[in-house]
C-alpha cells in the first residue's frame, strides 16, 4: 500500500521553508540589500536637506528614523509572496498537510530577519548621524526590533491579499498604511519619551502587546487571503 505510513512532522515544513528562503536569499544577497540601502541613504541625506543643527536633528531623529524604517519595510513587501505565487510554490504550500499558518509565519520570520532586524541593528549608527541623545539608543533598537516584526506581520496580510494583482504596490500601500500608523506613533513616541527622560517601558509594553496580537491574527489572515489569491 502506498499510504501505510503517512505520518509527517508538523514543524518540518516550517523549518524547510525557513531554510529554503534563507538559503536562496543568501545566494541573492543584492535583493535584500535594497531596503537597507534606501534606509541608509535617506537618513544620510536628511541633514543635507534640513538645517543641520544638533538641536533640530535631535528633535526629529526618532520620528525620521522610524518613518524611514517603515518605508523601507514597505518597499520590500511586494516581493514577499510574489515569486512563490509565480512559480507555483504557493499551490504546494496550500496543498500540503502542513498548516498554512506556520508556512506563512516562516515566510514572515525570514522577511523580518532579512529586513526588519538589520534595520533595527544599524539604527544606532544613524542615530549618531542625527545626533540622537544617548538615552535614546536602546529604546530605538528595541522599539524598531519589535516594530519591524509587527510591520512584517501586517505587511504579509497585505501582500497575500494583493499577490494576484499585476501591479500591486499601490493597493498594498493603501491597505496596510492605516494599520502601520499606530505602530509608527507608538514606536516614535517610545524613543522620544525615553530621550525626554520619561522612560520607554510603557511604549515597549504597548508594542509588545501589539506584536502578540499580530502574531496570532496576521498569519491567519494572510493564510486565508493566500487561499483566495491562489485561484486567480
Amino acid at each position: 500500500m502506498p499510504n501505510t505510513d503517512n505520518r509527517y512532522q508538523i514543524g518540518a515544513g516550517f523549518k524547510a521553508v525557513i531554510r529554503r528562503d534563507l538559503t536562496s536569499l543568501w545566494r541573492n544577497r543584492s535583493d535584500i540589500a535594497s531596503p537597507l540601502v534606501f534606509f541608509l541613504i535617506s537618513i544620510t541625506l536628511l541633514p543635507l536637506g534640513v538645517d543641520p543643527s544638533d538641536k533640530l536633528l535631535a528633535t526629529i531623529a526618532p520620528g525620521m528614523i522610524w518613518i524611514m524604517a517603515l518605508l523601507a519595510t514597505l518597499l520590500s513587501l511586494d516581493t514577499l509572496f510574489r515569486q512563490d505565487y509565480d512559480d507555483g510554490s504557493l499551490t504546494q504550500f496550500i496543498l500540503s498537510p502542513q498548516p498554512l499558518y506556520l508556512t506563512v509565519l516562516a515566510k514572515v520570520i525570514v522577511h523580518w530577519l532579512t529586513t526588519g532586524l538589520p534595520l533595527a541593528l544599524i539604527a544606532p549608527v544613524l542615530g549618531v548621524m542625527l545626533s540622537l541623545p544617548s538615552g535614546g539608543y536602546w529604546p530605538l533598537v528595541l522599539s524598531l526590533t519589535i516594530g519591524t516584526a509587527i510591520m512584517s506581520l501586517i505587511g504579509a496580510m497585505g501582500a497575500a491579499l494583493t499577490v494576484c494583482l499585476r501591479s500591486s504596490a499601490l493597493v498594498l500601500t493603501l491597505i496596510i498604511m492605516p494599520l502601520y500608523l499606530p505602530v509608527l506613533i507608538i514606536g516614535a513616541n517610545t524613543v522620544s519619551s525615553a530621550v525626554a527622560g520619561f522612560g520607554a517601558t510603557q511604549g515597549l509594553a504597548l508594542l509588545g502587546a501589539a506584536l502578540a496580537l499580530a502574531l496570532l491574527v496576521m498569519p491567519l489572515a494572510a493564510a486565508g487571503a493566500l487561499r483566495i489569491s491562489s485561484n486567480h
Binding site: 502506498p2 505520518r7 518540518a12 524547510a16 531554510r19 536562496s24 545566494r27 499551490t91 496543498l95
Partner: protein, 216 residues
C-alpha cells in the same frame, strides 16, 4: 478495499461567470488511471484545481473516502500529490535542496530516497547543481522526482509530459501505471497519445452546457 477513493458528484464549475462544465459524475476506485481530455479551455485544469480544493465547485461535491474532501482537508492533503503547470523549483537552490523543501511539506524525504528518485528521472549526479543551470525539461524532472518520493495515494498531474523527452515519457507512464497497480489513483491531463496499456478517459467536452454551444 472496494470502497471508492475519490468520487465526483454532479460537479459543476464556472470561471468568470462562464459555466465550463456541469454534472460531472465519476467514481475512482483503487487502481484508477484516468486521463482527463477536452479541447483547450474546456476546463481540464479547473477540474483538477477543484478536485484539489484550490477552487470551490459551483455545485456538487468531491468525496474522498466517502467524506467531502473540504471537510477533512488535512487528511486529504496527506494523501494528495499535486503537480501543476508551474514548476516550483527555486533557481538559486540546488536540485537536492529543492527536493528537500518540497519533500518536507509532505512526509519527509531522506537523502537516500532523494538520490534514488533523482536516478529514476535521470538526474543522478545533478544533486548539487544550481537549479538555474537546468533546462526546462530538467526542471520538470526535478518536480517529477517527487512522484518517487511521495507516499500519497492520489496523484493529480496537470500536463506531466510537458517538456519531457521520449524516454522520460515512457518512464513516467510506467511510474503512473505502477502507482495505479499498487492501489493508488492517478488523474492526469495530456494531449499526447499514450502507450500505456490500460487507462480510462474522462472527456470534458461531453459535459459542456447547451448554452456554451449556442454561444460558440
Amino acid at each position: 478495499m472496494s470502497e471508492p477513493l475519490l468520487t465526483l458528484e454532479n460537479l459543476s464549475c464556472e470561471r468568470d461567470g462562464r459555466t465550463l462544465f456541469s454534472g460531472v459524475h465519476y467514481t475512482c476506485n483503487r487502481g484508477t488511471l484516468l486521463q482527463i481530455v477536452g479541447f483547450n479551455g474546456a476546463g481540464k485544469t479547473t477540474l483538477l484545481h477543484t478536485l484539489a480544493g484550490l477552487l470551490p465547485a459551483s455545485s456538487g461535491t468531491v468525496l474522498w473516502r466517502g467524506q467531502p474532501a473540504h471537510r477533512q482537508r488535512q487528511a486529504f492533503y496527506q494523501e494528495l500529490l499535486y503537480l501543476g503547470h508551474q514548476v516550483p523549483v527555486k533557481p538559486q537552490l540546488s536540485v537536492r535542496e529543492n527536493l528537500l523543501w518540497l519533500g518536507a511539506l509532505n512526509p519527509p524525504a531522506t537523502e537516500a530516497a532523494i538520490a534514488e528518485a533523482l536516478a529514476e528521472v535521470d538526474l543522478a549526479g545533478f544533486e548539487d547543481s544550481p537549479s538555474y543551470a537546468l533546462s526546462a525539461g530538467q526542471k520538470r524532472r526535478v518536480l517529477l522526482a517527487q512522484l518517487y518520493l511521495s507516499r500519497a495515494t492520489l496523484w493529480i498531474l496537470d500536463e506531466p509530459f510537458t517538456a519531457i523527452d521520449k524516454a522520460g515519457v515512457q518512464k513516467l507512464e510506467a511510474a503512473m501505471a505502477c502507482h495505479a497497480a499498487k492501489g493508488g489513483v492517478v488523474l492526469f491531463t495530456s494531449h499526447q497519445p499514450l502507450a500505456m496499456a490500460e487507462f480510462s478517459i474522462l472527456d470534458l467536452s461531453a459535459y459542456q452546457t447547451p448554452q456554451e454551444f449556442a454561444d460558440a
